[in-house]
Amino acid sequence: MSEWWTYRAEDFLLFSPRVYWRMFESHNAALWPLHVVTLAAGLLIILLIAWRPGVFARWIALILAVLWIFVGWSFLWNRYTTVNWAAAYIAPAFAVEGGLLLISALRDGLAFDRRGPVAWTGYLTLVFGIAGQPLLAPLQGRGWTSSEVFGIAPDPTAIATLGVLLLARGGLVPWLLPIPLLWCLLSGMTLRTMGEPQAWAPYAAVALTAAAWIWTIIRQRGSLPAA
């Protein structure tokens, strides 16, 4: 395709907001009451990081691995592809993220010992992904039926994962960050193109993660006193 500069984001949007949110309604109806289990898993992740991070670090990675693979398969591959052919190319990335998290679990590659501003940014992002994102649907007048729930829909899963990764240390963290970051950017662009105000949520997750990551790098280079 030539003349790329003449194309706008709207030219690549294949579906209407009505179809997009109906898709979440159908997805939620098909999977209910699995939401209870995934939200409980999210709460468990928060509790484990806060109180027993050393003992259960590998279980946190394992829970996230299962949820990334599940969301990639159930939402992106089975549902989103029906209105967006590009989702067929994105779903494997969710499997890759799940695989990387699985490797982290097997190698016990994550350590949750961060403190200070980066850790609090991580908690904020994690709690928003699990408890805040589902509220956006009713807050915008769409009702609970189209809520996006952690472990069921991609946005809250990616946002909560970014929160977990901000709380983590380990050699695999830089490999685990790109896919949730890219998903949040893509989702934010899609929502903004549809004129949906909640585009700020994935964008904010990207901005907070980038800011916290830059802060960490600067601190590691000794430019700032230890937090």
Binding site: E10, L14, F15, V19, R22, V83, W85
Partner: protein
């Protein structure tokens, strides 16, 4: 003539309720005398949704099926067209167009062979939003195409300079896409009153006035607005009936809309 576009509006996935709504739009379209439905492999689930509607309506004999081939691979073209035909559930397409001029040389050759073999009635090319008019003009001059599709509306009038006169000269049928700029024009005008002189044309809505502007160009064959609403499809179809604006009135419509 007013056709039915399917970009975005018919991409409703597997949602049974929304599929039935699309079938209702198609039913109103055929009841109102509509014929041409236009789709593309690029439009997500639009093709199977059109097929669902056609099956539900008993494949109306008035249908003029307009499809596209959209792949950068020259060799994948025939398989994609066959897949599209299965989605629609029709014996053959009336028209297949090279979508957005993607790999146009190879696909046009395939389509001309299909036309010679009788597996498609007409062949064409498409572009949108004023892109690559030079190449479109070149193909219109040098290739034996039956249809050309591009954007034309009351504010996007580049096609009047060369493409529309050339189509008339060469006897190429013209399909106009984005007649409302994908809803932008009708949204912008919906709270503005229609000019009093519009009543002389028998129109009762901006959509009808905008469509009459397009359809009254002598080189235009069909405009293909897309909609999800039964009342809108009826309103669009009625634009093809009654008196059409003359050249002076067309200029008046364009100037009035641009001034708002």
């Amino acid at each position: 003539m007013v056709g039915l576009g399917t970009w975005i509006t018919f991409n409703v996935g597997n949602d049974p309720g929304l599929r039935d709504e699309c079938a209702d739009v198609m039913a109103a379209f055929f009841e109102g005398g509509g014929r041409m439905i236009d789709s593309s492999p690029m439009y997500g689930s639009s093709q199977p949704v059109v097929g669902y509607g056609l099956q539900k309506l008993g494949r109306p004999p008035a249908l003029f099926s307009a499809e596209k081939v959209w792949t950068s691979s020259a060799t994948a073209g025939p398989a994609q067209i066959e897949q599209s035909r299965r989605f629609w559930g029709v014996p053959k397409f009336d028209l297949v167009q090279v979508h957005n001029l993607l790999a146009w040389k190879a696909h046009l050759q395939t389509l001309l062979q299909m036309k010679a073999a009788g597996t498609v009635r007409y062949v064409g090319i498409t572009t949108s939003e004023g892109r690559r008019h030079d190449l479109v003009e070149q193909i219109m001059r040098n290739e034996p195409i039956d249809f050309v599709q591009f954007s034309y509306n009351v504010v996007d009038r580049d096609a009047e300079a060369r493409l529309l006169p050339l189509a008339a000269e060469r006897g190429i049928a013209v399909i106009v896409n984005r007649p409302f700029r994908q809803g932008e024009l009708t949204n912008r005008l919906k709270n503005k009153p229609l000019p009093e002189w519009a009543a002389e044309l028998g129109v009762s809505s901006w959509a009808q006035l905008l469509l009459k502007f397009i359809l009254s160009h002598p080189a235009v064959t069909v405009a293909i607005p897309a909609t999800t609403r039964v009342d809108h499809v009826r309103e669009n179809l009625s634009a093809a009936a009654g008196s059409m604006p003359d050249l002076a009135t067309r200029q008046r419509i364009s100037a009035h809309v641009k001034a708002l």
